[in-house]
């Protein structure tokens, strides 16, 4: 079969790092080609080069038999390459139709937009590939899976024959993943070529025709899924065995550290987001909260941290109601928080690491004396220990946080929270967007926390992580805890059913 895309010796250097180091990639026409690798392996850079977002320093690209050099994505689009980004690029307050035609509007005479033609075209595309969306829905009302379909249609609408999907499954629950895979197979049947980036190995094995593994900016191997196991792939990816998020023997005690009773709260617009949440976490226990994003987990975390008032019900720490306690008082009382969005909620990007270490502890020793005077030397010393203990790779504690890679930033955040004297640790998506090595380190720290007698509340979209680490699992759906499950019995598939409301089981069993 002819090659749709052929990349040879692609090299891309950034100051201090080589993101791609002579990468070769051969994608046959009409196949689904998976690219696997750890975070930071250079997959995204490679795709950005192919999509014309960044120029390669060296190497050549051949698309449909012709050598090409792109200076912008527009040129890539013109020869039929489309990309669906991991973070959707949709305007929430426009309709599906408007989003799809945005930037390539079909026009009638006089420059007016031909909405009818566009609508017809979209419905046709939808029919051909099983990509069903209502063109007149507002994007803000759509579920994640639907938004993704809009992105795919957008790319097809521009006439793409080669589709690049950047971690398309990262935001989906298992049922939506199956839907996506059905769509991908239909696209393939219609003769499209799909390049997709993923690091969930069972998914890759299920859908891909060919798999290329990239590690540290180099092509390691190109394999066929029928010839390899998930284990083999993992070893190719990391160059050694893949860590797993399993906890060992139980450390759960019957001492209740934090307890919510019938807690309700609203979001900023006043709509009810927590409807009577009742739960408790014991000393030495990890409670996993599963749920599709937007079902009240974020509000629950904010309520625990004192950033969002309860409209009714209560949350108590060691039997003391925390009503009216501000965030600082809760932190001082021993609640630690690893936020879900580190750049937005966890870091002062332009500040040195030691001041970031102080963030959240700025009323406590050793960072301040008498709760007022900052002690830079003591703080630096503390940060040095955190950096050492949690293996944060940095030239010094005086560099600004933005200079660090995502994984190292996350290790710093986890480290600084864990280094404090805690009773409760709230970990929201603690391994989101970091590579396998850093992920394993974070898991290890959560296990340490549990063994040290902390009550840990773990919220994650990574179901394996939830099942592997938790002592107990609850599922949050539309602001309620709808199921309590034993992680040793439940599969990711079952969990997905509870998360989407397809299966129902009473809590508190």
């Amino acid at each position: 079969m002819a090659s749709a895309v052929l990349l040879e010796g692609i090299t891309k250097r950034f100051p201090g790092v080589i993101a791609n180091d002579g990468v070769n990639l051969d994608v046959a026409e009409g196949e689904i080609h998976a690219i696997c690798g750890e975070n930071g392996a250079g997959k995204s850079t490679l795709m950005k080069i192919l999509y014309g977002m960044q120029p390669a320093d060296e190497g050549r690209m051949v698309v449909n038999g012709e050598e090409v050099v792109f200076s912008s994505p527009k040129e890539a689009i013109d020869i039929g390459i489309g990309m669906v980004h991991q973070h959707f690029m949709l305007a929430d307050n426009l309709t599906v139709l408007e989003n799809i035609i945005l930037g390539s509007e079909p026009t009638m005479r006089g420059g007016r937009i031909d909405f009818d033609e566009a609508r017809e075209h979209i419905i046709e595309v939808g029919k051909d590939y099983g990509l069903t969306v209502d063109p007149d829905d507002l994007v803000e009302t759509l579920e994640v899976g639907e938004r993704q379909r809009v992105e795919i249609i957008k790319v097809l609408f521009r006439g793409a024959k080669i589709l690049i999907l950047d971690e398309p499954t990262a935001v989906l629950v298992p049922q939506e993943v199956e839907e996506l895979f059905r769509n991908m197979r239909e696209l393939k049947a219609e003769g499209h070529t799909i390049i997709f980036i993923d690091h969930k190995l069972d998914e890759v094995l299920e859908i891909a025709d060919t798999i290329t593994v990239i590690r540290a900016g180099k092509t390691i191997d190109t394999v066929k899924p029928e010839n390899v196991t998930a284990r083999d792939l993992a070893e190719l990816m990391v160059g050694s065995e893949l860590p797993t998020p399993e906890t060992r023997e139980s450390t759960v005690t019957d001492h209740i550290v934090i307890e919510a009773i019938d807690a309700c709260a609203d979001d900023d617009t006043g709509s009810r987001k927590m409807r009577g949440v009742t739960m408790k976490v014991h000393k030495g226990e990890i409670l996993g909260i599963a749920g599709v994003e937007g079902n009240g987990q974020a509000e629950f975390v904010e309520a625990l941290m004192g950033m969002r008032p309860l409209t009714s019900g209560s949350i108590s720490l060691e039997g003391v109601r925390m009503k009216g306690w501000g965030t600082r008082r809760r932190r001082e009382a021993g609640i630690g928080y690893i936020p879900e969005d580190r750049t937005r909620r966890g870091l002062l990007a332009g500040f040195p690491l030691w001041e970031n270490d102080m963030l959240g502890h700025q009323s406590m020793e050793p960072f301040v004396k008498n709760g007022f005077w900052i002690q830079p030397d003591a703080a630096r010393e503390h940060t040095k220990q955190v950096v050492e203990q949690f293996d944060v790779r940095t030239p010094s504690v005086d560099v600004a946080a933005h200079a660090l890679s995502g994984g190292n930033q996350q290790k710093l955040i986890v480290g600084k929270e864990m280094a404090a004297d805690l009773k409760v640790l709230i970990a929201a998506h603690p391994t989101r967007g970091i590579d396998v090595g850093a992920q394993a380190a974070v898991w290890e720290e959560l296990r340490h926390a549990r063994a040290a007698g902390l009550a840990v509340i773990l919220i994650s979209a990574d179901l394996e992580e939830l099942i592997g680490l938790s002592d107990r699992l609850v599922v949050m759906l539309r602001g309620e805890l709808v199921a309590e499950l034993d992680p040793s019995e439940v599969t990711p598939r079952d969990l997905g059913s509870y998360m989407t409301g397809a299966a129902v089981r009473g809590g508190g069993s």
Binding site: G16, T327, R330
Partner: protein, 385 residues
């Protein structure tokens, strides 16, 4: 360490360089010889008397710059220093004239009054932002207009003592409420100073600068303030109450703004009158930008702008050029400084990022090597068994 110094100095020096080039072009267009003009300015500007006058101008500019910088540190754009200081000056002048206290106490009361009025006026903008989410730029601009044309005119009308000079003026503060000049101290090191007095409020400005440094960099509230400015969400997650921080920044900035009119009031005019210097609040924004909110940087900025202002008079006297040329120069310096800071900052960031990346990369190599070693050990055992 040397690098750090280079980065700190590169931008302002580049800015002044660019400003000199552009000003020269403007001077040429105005029909003047730039070299002559600069030489005249330098000769006049390096006289002891001009330097004293420069310090007198730089003192209120410095206070104004610090007042603005406190807001800047947490992303609040307090444009209201103008209204805050004028209102504070007139109320302080009235209070100072009405009371009669022993010397040090009298001055202290005047200073406290001015700070309280400034804080109150800025606090209105803070309150509106916290409770009604009114952007501080809008509210402080409005409050400037209300203060300068509304309240001040009204108060002058009510309190005015008509005197024979046709000048609207408030009664003067008695001598116990004056601040003595520092000429004696300066003259220990220099020749006799003629015709000008170095205002004593310079010492207060220095103290404010020191306090500002410690407050911002060495105290929790300063850290909370800076953190809120850098990333409000993260600051909130860390336990900082964003509304309290907004109020704190506005009140602190307003209190310092209240001091801006006092160097002149306590050191020279001793009464509020219509010749009272205006626009110090707006110039403070430029000074804060030039000084990058840094206590020493603001001092340098205040001195540069103060010097240009004082030394420029000679251009007109000697017939080189209209003194407005200095307004152009000041504007160019500020624009060039803002651009140069951005360029230097980007370079510094890139360098830091590559240093961090290098640290990670070398660690990765180590890791790879370790993995390979482990593998060998494993293989060896496998072979042996």
């Amino acid at each position: 360490m040397r690098r750090k110094l280079f980065y700190a100095l590169a931008a302002p020096l580049a800015a002044v360089g660019v400003a000199v080039v552009i000003s020269s072009i403007v001077l040429l267009f105005a029909g003047a010889n730039p070299l002559d003009a600069y030489q005249n300015m330098w000769e006049f500007g390096t006289r002891l008397e001009t330097l004293i006058a420069t310090l007198n101008r730089a003192t209120p500019l410095y206070l104004s710059g610090v007042a603005v910088a406190i807001g800047f540190r947490m992303n609040l754009f307090n444009i209201g220093v103008e209204g805050q200081y004028i209102l504070a000056a007139i109320v302080a002048a009235k209070v100072g004239a009405e009371i009669n206290l022993p010397p040090v106490l009298h001055v202290t009361v005047i200073i406290a009054t001015a700070m309280a009025v400034g804080a109150f006026w800025a606090g209105i903008a803070g309150y509106l932002k916290v409770t009604r989410n009114v952007h501080e730029v809008i509210s402080t601009i409005m409050l400037n207009a209300i203060a300068v044309s509304g309240v001040v005119s009204y108060l002058l009308g009510v309190w005015d003592v008509p005197d024979e000079s046709l000048d609207t003026a408030l009664p003067a503060i008695p001598e116990s409420g004056w601040m003595p000049p520092l000429n004696n101290i300066v003259e220990l090191f220099t020749q006799e100073i003629k015709r000008v007095e170095l205002w004593g409020f310079l010492l207060v400005a220095v103290a404010v600068g020191v306090l500002y440094h410690f407050l911002i960099n060495r105290t929790r509230i300063g850290f909370d303030l800076r953190a809120s400015g850098e990333n409000p969400t993260a600051a909130q997650v860390s336990g900082t109450d964003p509304k309290r921080m907004i109020m704190a920044a506005m009140l602190l900035g307003g209190a310092v703004a209240g001091l801006v009119g006092l160097p002149e009031l306590l050191g020279d005019s001793h009464a509020y009158n219509l010749r009272f210097t205006r626009n110090l609040g707006f110039n403070g924004i430029a000074v804060a930008l030039l000084g990058r909110n840094n206590p020493i940087g603001i001092a340098i900025g205040a001195f540069v702008i103060g010097w240009l202002d004082r030394a420029s008079g000679v251009l007109e006297v000697r017939g080189d050029a209209p003194r407005e040329i200095v307004a152009i120069m000041t504007g160019v310096i500020i624009l060039a400084a803002v651009v140069a800071y951005a360029v230097v900052e980007r370079k510094r960031r890139a360098e830091e990022a590559s240093a961090a990346a290098a640290a990670t990369a070398s660690a990765k190599e180590e890791q790879e090597a370790w993995r390979a070693e482990q593998k060998q050990v494993g293989d060896g055992e496998g072979g042996g068994s």
